[in-house]
Symmetry: D2
């Protein structure tokens, strides 16, 4: 028994759902999950299914799918084998709370992925990586060496066949070149309720503005800073008694949970991106 | 153009989704919403669709649906015309906060229903009903007259062709007979986070237990007190500084929102009930 | 028995709390509530007490308070008789959800204030005002008549000895002159999680940005738009399935609760403002 | 400069706050935090202060405090040196998520305590303890050896001068004898929103009841199971799509945060217990 995940989107039009479910039934698949969404502003249809097959050839299925559906409806499509674990690279710097949290979940079996490597511009988290038995690569980054460092990073990512990248408080701007290689595949955690407090030191800005609630936002990286598609957000109540340090401490818990949730959505192929927004099929 | 809502459930088996979507396509319907759920413990399949038809005969559709699908899969099924506004009766007593809230939403167009009548065992809310132009029936209830009162209530409900009942803090036990007439169609708001603090005076119990969070629960009435299928719950933080009166005040806001949300789910045909639990297709 | 509320702030220095509590004890007062806060960035001390007195002369107390404490510590201070109900003016336009909500709470006894009048630039909510027996003044506002209208408003506020103003979705910019007359006494509800989505149509902006959480913010009006001291904020989860209309509907519940909470904090003299931020003594 | 934390409670009566703040001023202390609460049902006054002293002798201060205040007002009292780090013992079993979380916070400096030892009835978490450099004691517990095991535990706790115990998913019933030794000093995390779902397997019960929200509760252990004073609670939304396994996964995040918050309140001497309820001075 194989479980297959299909994501499609195309211009909205009558009969898509019937065509797809029909195709699956004719291919002897049993749909165990189906969800769809219509973006009425741009008139785009999104769909995600999970389907079980007794006998399955990805090659044949894809070929037929293309002929019978993709061409007809002018679809964008992705088909995944649900068993396949995507390969996640972690980029970290000095903060350890998100890294701990991710690796703890990984070890507990909560994350259906592999973690072939951790890349960091500092050595601080090397022992943490060792404790969890994940290869750790130290690639220092300075203004002068940034371009060179990135080449090295890309080389490592390629070698390890990395599918997506998580910036677990990496604290470095990612170049457009890197983003092009991993479009909608680099997940960042921003420590504010975007679009409030874009940029550096959001807790300082939140403190200054006297907000009563702080937030955290996980999003895909795009070239425009902190403006990529939002995957997940959450918040916590604060008050005038919170110092900046208190906000940072409280925020760490948010960051961990928001990032972990975003990672799980991505790993489980629940996220589709269109027009700088996400459709997330829970 | 007519929009039709279909709810079905049956034993889980291969090919249901394809069969249903196929049937709809062959009936020239365009599915604009589809969601499904499989209860793996009892092996039950649930599905809800919204479908648009250019030309539509409910009679013909139902007849074909029955022949081609219901009999084959041994389905339980409901088909609604999305335009039809269900008729909601409000049962109230003396508390006005939930009543205000519901009628305010009703007037603003937020609730896709009709409110043919309000029934109360007290006269306190008669002017409120008048302000919103809803017929108000005063049916006093005492131990001695309870059975008689209920006959009168049932008579009124029948006359006004009421589809479902909302107990907006009605404060009276509903009899098994009434429940039988409106199975999974009587919505109650309980002022605690069920199953904590079942029964009367939950805020007093919450105060005594020293909880840090209070809740409210909206559920369908069943014969067992406060044990019916839960439709919606929400909570609010409290602290040692809250007196019982403060808990009650804070709780009123919860009750309003939780009840309104449950009503909307019911009105929009998003709730299915099975085995004393709800499946809610958002 | 009289209950007196005292708010003070001054430069932080040793011995203030002892001096104040001492002074109260020597005045035969019994402190039933005390809270304090030190803003360590600007080194400012804030304090709020509630004190009960058997015999009390406000005049004598204020005079002694000034001599013994205010002059010594260079305090800013406010003293209120807890029984006194502040007079609240409501400014409304066409949206009724916040108005209903406030008047419903007022009638239920939840708000310790008087509402001498409602002012509106439209006639839509006149019947609502009538239902709750609150005088309603219709003062149309156009670009040409804005200055004139404001003179009329100020005249009415003065006549009715209004203490503070609530903009219950009033939808008009308040002039600097009006703000000067009611500094930190004009409460607004903004339908976003400030500082995200400043300005008009925040739900449209939130929709465009694809946020997963929407918010509402109640704040005191200052000359800079949507930048005044924040009193209360709250949020609700949304998803890609929410249309702008859904966001607006969901947001209305937030607006009601956030505004009501802010009003209660203000009425109960729990808010102090310093440096464009609030200190709120719960 | 020494910072001293004072907790007192006694029958409510006039003049306590003035007497205490006066005493502190006369002892040349500068109050930097003060909070109080009156339990009006039992007429009990609670107070907590943080005070800074240039020169301080704990012995002298305590002696004077007793003579001048405790005897006069018949107070219960506790005085702590804020610098002193309480010694926390962790009891664990096989689940690692709460242990990781606590030790991660400990290492990041978020917890103002020492952790002299971890005690477990299983060996599973020994490597985790080693990674964080905390001594790990394996004391197996069977029905036959339970009494003996407890003697060994108590011996270890005494040797390491443990101040309080955290049951980080320890999964064993604590005896009355152990509870007597650490009254209101044994913190447990229960994986439900108490008092709903007392006892074992609360996620299974929550699933069966079809709740829309799950919770976690941290409380002090008392002889009655899951009925001790509640320190902290939090919740998360769930739906019909959550399997029991999903509830457990979601619940783990709650448990971590709720337990960590409770530990911080305890460590920072913010919790007072009276009549099986907590007063928590934030």
């Amino acid at each position: 028994m194989k479980k297959i995940i299909i994501q499609i989107y195309c211009k909205d039009q009558a009969g898509i759902i019937a065509a797809v479910t029909n195709f699956i039934a004719n291919s002897n698949g049993n749909i165990v999950y189906i969800d769809q969404h219509v973006n009425r502003e741009q008139d785009i249809f999104f769909m995600r299914t999970e389907t079980e097959f007794e006998n399955f050839s990805m090659e044949v299925f894809k070929s037929n799918f293309k002929t019978e559906l993709v061409d007809k409806f002018d679809m964008k499509w992705r088909i995944y084998n649900a068993e396949d674990k995507p390969k996640m690279a972690l980029f970290v710097s000095k903060y350890d709370h998100c890294l701990y949290d991710i690796l703890g979940r990984y070890r507990s079996g909560e994350l259906h992925c592999e973690i072939p490597l951790i890349i960091s511009n500092h050595l601080d988290l090397k022992t943490t990586a060792a404790y969890f038995n994940i290869p750790f690569y130290h690639i220092p980054v300075t203004k002068a060496t940034k371009a060179e460092a990135e080449i090295e990073q890309l080389q490592l990512l390629k070698e390890h066949q990395v599918d997506f990248i998580v910036l677990a408080r990496y604290m470095q701007i990612i170049s457009g070149n890197m983003i092009d290689h991993y479009k909608n595949k680099i997940i960042n955690i921003h420590h504010s309720f975007l679009p409030a407090f874009i940029g550096a030191k959001p807790y300082h800005s939140a403190f200054k503005r006297g907000v009563k609630i702080i937030g955290a936002t996980s999003h895909y990286i795009t070239e425009e800073l902190d403006a990529g598609p939002i995957i997940e957000q959450d918040i916590a109540r604060v008050s005038h008694t919170y110092s900046i340090k208190d906000l940072i401490t409280k925020g760490r818990d948010l960051e961990k949970i928001v990032l972990a949730t975003a990672i799980k959505h991505h790993i489980n192929r629940k996220v589709m991106v269109y027009n700088n927004k996400t459709v997330i099929f829970y």
